[in-house]
Amino acid sequence: MTVVTTDVAAPDTRKAGRFVYISAVALLCAWVLVPIYFLLINTLSSPETVNSFPKPFIPEFDLGSLQFFAGFAGMLTALKNSVLVAGMTMIMSILIGAPAGYALSRFDFRGKELFRLLILLTRAFPLPLLALPLAVMFIQTGLDDTVFGLALVHTTLAIPFSVLITFSLFSGIPIELEEAAWTLGCTRLTAFTKVVLPLILPGITASAIFAFVISWNEVFAAAVLTIENRTLTAFLLQNLDTSPLHLKFAGGFILVVPALIFIFAVRKYLFAMWGIANR
């Protein structure tokens, strides 16, 4: 009797579990997407509709607000600047940050805790207060109003992410793996490039996403440190909150899109090849 019931129940619970699982995934997707969808509706609505009640739940495809920005002088240059700054931030923060992440996970050295604290301090102090001394320094050294100068500041913001993320992933890779490679004739460097590097590609990708997004969305330093080479965010975002509603949404939407494209482009590198071997 008992045998029969369990036999019947097992596929049932599995089916039920699968149902719960799929609906949970769908629910979480909706949780993320619905607010974005609202943003889209408001972006594609006429000013009257944006102010109306009740709000529609299907966009009416009024392109007026987007067209306003299309005619906005300097949008393309600002977009180019934003991409450049974000790109440089990405490269610099990984090149500078990853070695430190490796050092933190593989070695015990004096001053390690102090070093970690320095990394965290960077993130725990508000940039708008640091902007003044930084701007003075930049003006005096000629870094002011350059894409590179701004990328340096954004790299400072992104470094804690790249160091800590790479640290946590290196820590997840058994040191035996590297030691095995050494005994097989690899040097420390080749063991690193051939064995470890492929494994932490997800970490590099995660750091890259953070660096890109941090730089992309950063307003304050961008507004203070660039004048002619404005980034799109500094150009648009800081003036959005005082703008009429429909332009607020359209401007917000325009800012979101490039970041989404970027994340989309790199998303699959987020999975390690090792843990999930069979794709």
């Binding site: 974005i36 408001n42 430190a100 508000p126 207060l129 470094i159 800590l164 970041a259 843990g275």
Partner: protein
């Protein structure tokens, strides 16, 4: 290369970089916190802490962090394990879940205000379903609970992805063989999660928590958008000192207080989730 020197060589670029672009301006700003024009003083600290709003902003900031971060951690863990088990559509689902990462806090504030506004989407939905006759005013001083809830939801929506990405990258490193072995011994999924995923994910958990907690104390834009003047937080007061009251000494003092809190919590997390050097199999 000499193995004793190697770590220092590896951290040298970051150290130099941060000294130049963080430590140098930081020291200049921090100095202001301890001076009001003549010599060393703690006046700035007593000024900001004796202001009547200070305890409120402190309470609000801590309360929000305490309410939001654990939920985010649980949610991010859940999402990470779910996406990891997925056979099909993994890329797409993960992509959807990381979307909020690309949205700045200012933009997130705009989006969520459009939802909770009196003539916003939530009211439109409720009146469409016939739940209410006319739009309800949600974000008002009579409903501090709803204001808090709205801010919480917006923050959970916006910033869970930060933890998710770090955890997904970390979970991917856990060898699949462990789970296969556990499967053979008949361990339940929950047991597998507790005995394999959580311990092996410790480095990533630590990083995700530390970064998230630090950012939680710097929260400002979303709170300002939804809470208006009803829910003052530490960072908002810092900006008010710096840019409205033009009192950079007081602003620096506030920032140092936030810094001290962040560091305090960070040390606690680091202690709890200590990561051994180079995990062993």
């Amino acid at each position: 290369m000499n193995a004793r020197l190697l770590p220092y060589v590896l951290i040298l670029p970051v150290t130099l970089f941060l000294c130049l672009f963080f430590l140098y301006p930081f020291v200049l700003v921090a100095k202001q916190a301890f001076s009001t024009g003549s010599g060393f003083t703690l006046d700035n600290f007593s000024e900001v802490t004796s202001y009547w709003k200070f305890p409120i902003t402190m309470r609000n900031t801590l309360l929000l962090a305490a309410a939001v971060v654990p939920i985010q951690l649980a949610l991010a863990l859940l999402m990470a394990t779910m996406v990891n088990r997925m056979q099909r559509g993994r890329d797409l689902v993960l992509y959807v879940w990381t979307i909020p990462l690309g949205i700045s806090d200012l933009a997130a504030g705009i989006i969520w205000l459009a939802i909770f506004d009196q003539s916003g989407f939530l009211n439109s939905m409720m009146s469409g379903l016939g739940l209410i006759e006319k739009p309800v005013n949600l974000l008002t001083f009579q409903n501090p609970g709803i204001v808090f809830l709205a801010i919480m939801l917006a923050e959970i929506w916006r910033a869970t992805a930060i933890m998710l990405v770090i955890l997904v990258a970390g979970i991917g490193l856990i060898p699949k063989e462990y789970y296969e072995a556990a499967e053979v011994f008949g361990a339940s999924k929950w047991k597998q999660f507790l005995r394999i995923t959580l311990p092996l994910l410790r480095p990533s958990l630590q990083t995700a928590l530390v970064l998230r907690v630090i950012l939680a104390f710097e929260i400002f834009a979303v709170v300002a958008a939804l809470g208006g003047t009803l829910f003052p937080v530490l960072m908002g007061e810092t900006y008010a000192y710096q840019f409205d009251l033009l009192n950079s000494g007081a602003a620096a003092a506030m920032a140092l207080i936030i810094l001290a809190i962040s560091i305090g919590f960070t040390l606690i997390i680091l202690r709890i989730l200590r990561v051994p050097k180079g995990a062993t199999i």
